[in-house]
Amino acid sequence: MRYVVTPQDVTDNQRPLVGGKAFALAMMWRKGIRVPDWLCITTTAYGEYLSATGLGARIGLELNRKRFEDMRWEEIWDASLRIRNMFLKTPVPGTLEQKMRAYLDEAFMGKSVAVRSSAPGEDSSHMSFAGLHESYINVQGTESIVEHIRLVWASLWSDRALLYRKELGLDIRRSTMAVVVQELVPGERSGIIFTVNPTNHGQSVVEAVHGLNQGLVDGTIEPDRWFLDRETGAIVSHAAAQREMWIVPSPSGISLEKLPPRRAKWPPLKAGDLKKVFGLGRLSEKVFEVPQDMEWCFRQHLLFALQSRPITTSSDTGGADQRPWYLSLHRSFENLKALRRKIEEEIIPGMERDGTTMSHVDLRGLTDSDLAAEIERREKLLEDWKDTYTRDCIPFAHGMRLFGQVYNDMVKPADPFEFMDLLRSDGLAGLDRNRILQQLASQIRRDGRLKKDLEQRVYRQEQSCFWQRVDNLIARFGAGGLTGIEDESDKQRWRIVTLLLEMASQEASGERGNIRSGGRSEDFLKLFNPEKQLFAADLLDLGRASYRLRDDDNIALGRVESEVSRGLDEGRARIKAKVPAGVEEFNGGEIVKALRRAGYVLAVKEPAQETTIKSGFKIKARQIVGQPAGPGIATGKARVILDDDKLFDFKAGEVLVCDAIDPNMTFVVPLAAAIVERRGGMLIHGAIIAREYGIPCVTGIPGATELISTGDQITVDGYLGIVVIG
């Protein structure tokens, strides 16, 4: 069993044993290219770790909850976090660890190393996993190296790596991972070379930064960039960077620091150095016989090759390589801070401004043609905001995950989502609204006369204070806050009263309906060394913002959506006369055409054929597995909500079953015994709210609203993510 191999051990047929990165290092080492000392922990060692600890089977159970193809990206995130926690909590078994330690002690005693992934199949000319698996820089001491090897193994199951495999159609069950442990050469100047510029094949590209090259690779630091003539190496052009920061080794790994002014004045490479880098790139290309994407560094004027891989171009993956998007989901701390500012200062105010502006438009006063233009304008606006939401708001959710990862690394908790207790905030707009509803319900509960009057639909002047509070609630949260309410204000009021009476019928105390208190931030911060506490506090603050904004951006987008719906409803009302039935089915495009052209005939859709099971067998779901999104177990009658309007029928103690809870629906959550949601994820809105209220919640149940019917007795096991029907 080869658990560890050294450069001289690697033979030509051992790529599956050592992975692409180690194999390339071995090839360069053989040809005399200067590479830092390294050894490889083989895929056999990884396999032994999985099998001896039972971890392989546990990963299988985690990923088999449902078909991988059916998992949403957020569910994959969650599965990945759970798997990572399994690696964190599962030590390397004694025999394997002893064998690894023997090699590591001999090669790296007293030295700093980089621990890098080297998965077979990684870095071929057909696909690139660059950046999808983890690398750790400046790791010291054998124990710490072994711990980081586990983290690199875990990164084989990172969400971005899983997503990329899913896209490439690779079998994730056959994934394996070798690890390169390489002496850290603290480069004074570092960078990359593309021996062929992907956009101009007559050129090579060199990028360079001062310090270590991690900042360049993850996009934190802007590099100086040179385009060189591919044949001669002559400089074609040089784009200088604003040199402000650099990455340097620090006691706890690496840190981003201000670049000293004397260095900032000069590009990282002079002409002679550039020539050496160009020569190294060409040599590497000769060794591998295909154009190379190589990382290098200078240390005391010696040039080292750190790694080399074939250039993968988008044309190799059919031109639809989504890797950059997956990578964009993991933002650096600095990047996330900038994103937060953008969301708080530009995006949410922008959505709110557009929502308010649209709400002031008197749609009934518009001509048909103007209404058609207004509908188009609104739909375009919504489309733009949705793009912004996908581009900026969704990646900002990574703030929670970044915090969660640091928390799990420090605490190694049994529940990998324990970190969410620390992220809770009182500032969620939805919770604010629910609190007001609870206060009003409490007032009804205390005042028997008021309760009786409301039940009999009697309005009394002396109860104007209560009615004023109801009106304030409607004014503050509007149709965006309590969807499904029709225009007539009196109807609006009585529907809220129906809900309040239901809430008032419940006992006032108990866990349900009361928001659980969050974890203690001081306890978390104390886990860090004093010099790291400021960073930890900043990260916690970012995590909390990410948690809060997941609610606020949804509510703001929901407001824009409800204004688009208002426009469409007005359009439908006008063309209703032309189409006797089914007008609700028409989309914006059809409505606009019908408004613009008097004689336009709307294409009536054929009703969908119902599938009849001719065999006469009755098929019924009994137990369905989803994701455990809120701990607890509860049994109750199901209330399936397909239409927000039906939320007002919700009875206390029922189980809320729906496609996806949005922030505008959460006012019934305090009444629910449990929640079942088709959309999967731990950090989606329904799950967050369920945890806030301590209500059992299972998400990611495919076909939840079809398989479960209103009135079914169901048991929701929020610990294991199981729903039992009947």
């Binding site: 089977a57 546990r58 049994a414 096991d717 610990y719 294991l720 039992v724």
Partner: protein, 162 residues
């Protein structure tokens, strides 16, 4: 029920050490058993991941509280389990061994014997999260008799109680 396993072992009869040895090997090597319970008058079967104590007296498995099997065995604790090593091949008729165990099932409560839990996890380490869940029930079946079937029709009984 939750006494130390070595003491439980001392009490058991040993009619056939060879049979017991083979039985132990089979119970250790097979991961899943068929559990039969009664749903009213109707027999009802499930696959369960099981483990056995070294003295063969107890078979252990885990399930969740909301399942039919748990509801059934709560109403009717007399159950049986089938463990076999068939390979779904014609050779099974001469080579497969099937064992039916009959006994009484019961929930191991909050003061669950840590030793039994460890024993179970040793065989099924991947079920650690499952059995740690508050909604999970750890069940032991105190076995009365093992019926061992070999070579198609050869049946031997191993009685654990006098």
């Amino acid at each position: 029920m939750c006494g130390p396993l070595d003491r439980i072992g001392e009490k058991g009869p040993s009619p056939d050490d060879d049979l017991k040895g083979r039985l132990k090997d089979l119970l250790a090597s097979v991961k899943l058993a068929v559990l039969a319970t009664r749903m009213g008058e109707q027999p009802y079967t499930n696959l369960v991941a099981f483990a056995s104590t070294v003295d063969l007296r107890y078979l252990l498995f885990a399930t969740t509280r909301a399942t039919r099997k748990f509801s059934n065995l709560s109403d009717q604790p007399l159950v049986s389990l089938l463990v076999d090593n068939r390979s779904n091949d014609v050779s099974d008729f001469r080579e497969a061994v099937a064992v039916t165990a009959t006994g009484r099932a019961g929930e191991l409560g909050a003061s669950m014997c840590q030793e039994m839990r460890n024993l179970y996890l040793e065989k099924h380490p991947y079920l650690e999260e499952f059995i740690a869940s508050p909604s999970c029930v750890f069940v032991s079946v105190e076995v009365d008799v093992y019926y061992v079937v070999k070579r198609f029709q050869n049946v031997t009984e191993l009685h654990l109680k006098p």
